[in-house]
């Protein structure tokens, strides 16, 4: 396994190089000139040139790229161009609120989706199955934004069950006062597609010969479903969770904006709007590295879920 892990880590280097190049060229060709924004309402070409010089964007591309590479490997992205705050501090202070929302969302969503999926897969073709599938399809057809607007208005304002928005310094207050509504919303929105997907995983397994054999052997249905079907369906489910894991670090921009959660997603959008390249660079690179590491961990975990998998 050690050789496998080392090989996978080694393979990450060209991927990171690709990410660096992509971000760099996208920012320089598509992104706006930060000096224009920082210069204010009235500025002359000399002032703009001075700002460009201070930011280092007047340097040749190869030099800027080299600085970027150094930043990636030293994990030091300097300071935000718009607020002068240390990028590392921005990331550290923002990741907490994002995870406070997104970890419960992932856990609740996965548990509920697996539970409902195995239930509807078991009663496949029944009225319950069809009704749930229709509800899921309708739920998936509505924009996330509509859900946010309606939920916030209904549960926050009309019913008054939760605050409309806000965040505090206390983790517990955040978790039990401010986070429940966005969590509920995200779970509600994410549940329908997950349920449909996991149902198909379960159906694939239910139709397998080994399930028929287990039933023929007289195993109780509970054992067939929970031991045999669930365990085998966990492989694609695990893959799906692995794919969505890096996303929890970025959070949902819309949720964070609407519920005033000071998380990473909101920070990224602010950075893009302000052409704040150091923040954009840091978040994108760290996210890419995180995605690769999580993929590696998920691949290693396959071995434990499915003994047929071997490291080659």
């Amino acid at each position: 396994m050690t050789a496998y892990v080392i090989r996978r880590l080694w393979q990450m280097i060209p991927t990171i190089a690709g990410v660096i190049l992509l971000i760099f060229f996208l920012f320089n060709w598509v992104g706006g000139d930060p000096a224009q924004v920082l210069a204010g309402k009235i500025s002359n070409p000399e002032q703009i040139a001075n700002i460009r010089k201070q930011l280092g964007v007047d340097q040749p591309y190869w030099y800027q790229l080299w600085v970027f590479v150094q930043q990636v490997f030293t994990f030091d992205f300097g300071r935000s161009w718009s607020t002068n705050e240390e990028v590392s501090r921005i990331l550290l202070t923002r990741v907490g609120p994002t995870l406070t929302i997104m970890i419960p969302v992932l856990v609740i969503e996965t548990v509920l989706a697996v539970l409902f999926a195995i239930m509807v897969a078991y009663v496949r073709g029944s009225v319950t199955d069809r009704t749930i599938m229709i509800v899921c399809t309708v739920a998936m057809s509505i924009s996330f934004l509509v859900y946010i607007i309606v939920f916030q208005w209904l549960f926050g304002f009309i019913l008054g069950w939760f605050p409309v928005q806000g965040w505090s310094e206390s983790f517990w207050k955040n978790l039990f006062t401010y986070a429940p509504l966005p969590i509920m919303l995200a779970v509600f929105v994410g549940l329908a597609p997950q349920l449909r997907l996991y149902r198909s995983f379960f159906l694939d397994e239910i139709n397998q010969d080994y399930v028929r054999t287990a039933r023929a052997k007289g195993l109780p249905e509970k054992k067939v479903m929970l031991k045999h079907v669930l365990r085998n369906a966990m492989i694609p489910i695990l893959t799906n969770i692995g794919i969505s894991l890096p996303g929890i670090f970025v959070g949902s921009f819309l949720l964070e904006v609407f519920f005033s959660v000071p998380g990473l997603g909101r920070e990224i959008i602010t950075a893009v709007n302000r052409s704040d390249f150091p923040v954009i660079k840091a978040v994108t690179v760290y996210l890419a590295i995180l995605t690769m590491l999580i993929n590696l961990i998920v691949d290693v975990m396959y071995k434990y879920v499915d003994p047929r998998v071997s490291f080659k």
Partner: protein, 608 residues
């Protein structure tokens, strides 16, 4: 009558004990009194609180409360009036409007900070000199550097010397920034400037202590230390800003001299604040909330006490038919309707080969475009009737605004637009249903804008309006930074813009068309010698009939040559619950915390 002489040695300790008990009780009661807390939202996240580095109005709005400049504006006076803040008085211009001398009130102290090493730090004239030099120090990338460019005698030369030396020497004197002793600073200007007092009343033209800036050099945004009525107590960047009353502040008193007692807001403010030592609010909590719905619902849910700048999307809900809805009326909510000191506009690039130039046919084309644009629809539909049609670039409430001035050539009139186009040869020459240029080339115009829902609607309105007169238009939504750049270098044909007053004088708006400001704020690249001559002449004149006549003539030239389509002056509605006392929105100052009071009992009853 009880006198000390009447007290015998036995009674004295009893009396002392009684007094001590009473004092302790009173102190206890005072401590137990609930704090006056104001909660509100900003529409955009702040950037920081280094006054010489910030640009956005929200950051400047916080600086307003932490720092104090030489001058400020009277809270109630309309049109606005400059009044002293840390200066002893507003000086009269000397030497033909080229010298302004200020005497600072002695005994004003910065809030205590570790950087002062336990000593009280008094505000001195040298702090102003330092702050103004900071505007020009390239390291600070100050967005307001232009305020002191080509303005103060010797300052430009000083800056050049520092740039050559590669390091700013703040100790080197500047002839135009004359510090006389501890409390006097005299500004000598290169040219007469009767608006210079407005510059010194700007909320970011404020003194900073050099040791604070040098002590917190790595993060001056995060360590604002001023002499103002509030201190920054807590700052979760882009999420929460908490200001608390500066306990050592000397306090203000409302000056009701300029109040208009027929105005209900003025009357209420005077009644609530007269004779009280300001500020009255203990703590201000501000939450930047970018989206409109949570901001609106937070107010409706009593999570916030104020809602500044109600978004037009909620206007029909809150103010159906222009009147407050019944729910809010029952709650006693007040609406302050403010005509913003700003104007929106579309710049025509006067150097563009198709629409630019000063020849009759090009001027006619631009004027036809203006008249083809359906501004009525813009106001009624897109802006939900929360805007006034601009008659000149100068908005109401600004010194130099002429309420009698009318601009019929900016009104929507397709017949006139078509007639103008026909008269100057912009007709359909190839029979494709679209107008062509007089030389037969196709006439396809382009419009650049910064992408948002509102600007997209405005772009669609342009396309529809021009299609009605037979002109094709392509629209291009781009990033804000790119739009700024394209406008600065003239890489556009027609582009969307807006301008908000930096200071309340028409000059701040009319400079947008001054020829030498091309590549800076003159986006239209309009260079008309007559306009430039009038502008220069106006600079040397104080406010008065002569200057007003010049401004009127400049406005006429703008209408005649049409380097711009005048848009609107937007109207904002600000909502307050009845327990917020003393509210009035100032057109230039962004915040008014120091003039507000909170009826805590009413606030708590409502929140139960």
């Amino acid at each position: 009558m009880l006198t000390f002489r009447a007290l015998n040695p036995i009674r004295l300790p009893i009396l002392a004990a009684t007094l001590a008990l009473a004092a302790a009780f009173a102190l206890g009661t005072a401590e137990a009194a609930p704090k006056k807390v104001l909660r509100m939202a900003f529409r955009t996240a702040e950037t920081g609180f280094d006054p010489q580095k910030v640009y956005d109005r929200y950051s400047v709005g916080i600086c307003e409360n932490i720092y104090e400049g030489l001058l400020t504006y009277d809270y109630l006076a309309r049109p606005v009036k400059v009044v002293p803040l840390v200066a002893e008085s507003v000086p009269e211009p000397e030497e033909g409007g080229t010298r302004y001398t200020f005497r600072i009130k002695p005994g004003i102290y910065y809030v205590d900070d570790p950087v002062f090493k336990g000593r009280k730090r008094e505000l001195v004239a040298r702090d102003f000199e330092y702050a103004i030099k900071r505007f020009r120090d390239p390291v600070n990338k100050s967005p307001y550097e232009w305020l002191f460019e080509n303005k103060v005698a010797g300052l430009d030369e000083y800056v050049e010397r520092q740039k050559k030396a590669g390091k700013f020497n703040y100790d080197e004197p500047v002839t135009g920034l004359e510090v006389r002793g501890k409390y006097v600073i005299s500004f000598k200007l290169k040219e007469p400037d009767y608006n210079f007092l407005y510059v010194l009343a700007m909320p970011n033209v404020v003194p900073v202590a050099r040791e604070v800036i040098e002590g917190y050099a790595a993060d001056t945004h995060g360590h604002p230390v001023g002499t103002g009525p509030y201190v920054l107590k807590d700052w979760v960047r882009r999420s929460k800003i908490v200001l608390e009353r500066n306990p050592d502040h000397r306090g203000y008193e409302l000056d009701p001299r300029y109040a208009d007692m027929r105005d209900p807001f003025d009357r209420a403010a005077v009644e609530a604040l007269r004779g009280k030592r300001l500020p009255l609010i203990d703590r201000v909590e501000i939450y930047p909330i970018e989206d409109e719905q949570p901001r609106y619902l937070a107010f409706m849910n009593l999570e916030h006490d104020l809602l500044d700048e109600l978004h037009p999307a909620f206007v029909h809900q809150v103010l159906p038919n222009g009147k407050l809805n019944s729910v809010l009326e029952k709650r006693g909510v007040h609406v302050f309707r403010e005509e913003q000191p700003e104007f929106t506009y579309d710049s025509f690039n006067v150097e563009d080969p198709v629409i630019g130039g000063y020849s009759p046919e090009r001027v006619a084309l631009r004027r036809a475009l203006v008249q083809a644009h359906d501004r009525t629809q813009e106001i009624n539909i897109i802006r939900k009737q929360q805007a006034l049609p601009a008659q000149s670039p100068v908005p109401p409430g600004i010194v130099g605004y002429d309420p009698e001035f009318r601009a019929p050539s900016q009104d929507f009139d397709t017949s006139k637009a078509k007639a103008l186009l026909d008269m100057f040869g912009y007709v359909d020459r190839d029979g494709d249903g679209w107008r062509d240029q007089p030389d037969g080339k196709p006439l396809v115009l382009s419009y650049k804008y910064n992408v948002s829902q509102e600007t997209r609607q405005l772009a669609e309105l342009w396309v529809k309006s021009l299609a009605n007169v037979g002109i094709r238009m392509d629209t291009l939504g781009i990033q804000f930074a790119d739009l700024l750049n394209d406008k600065r270098v003239g890489k556009f044909q027609i582009a969307a813009s807006a301008w908000t007053a930096d200071y309340p004088d028409a000059q701040n708006f009319l400079q947008l068309y001054y020829g030498p400001n091309t590549d800076q704020s003159n986006e239209s690249r309009f260079k008309l010698p007559e306009y430039d001559r009038l502008y220069q002449k106006s600079l040397g004149l104080p406010d008065g009939p002569e200057r007003s006549a010049i401004y009127r003539e400049m406005n006429r030239l703008l209408l005649a040559y049409a380097p711009v389509r005048l848009g609107v002056h937007r109207i904002y509605n600000h909502l307050q619950y009845p327990w917020v006392r003393g509210y009035k929105k100032h057109p230039i100052l962004y915040t008014n915390f120091k003039y507000l009071d909170i009826d805590v009992a009413a606030q708590q009853v409502a929140m139960k």
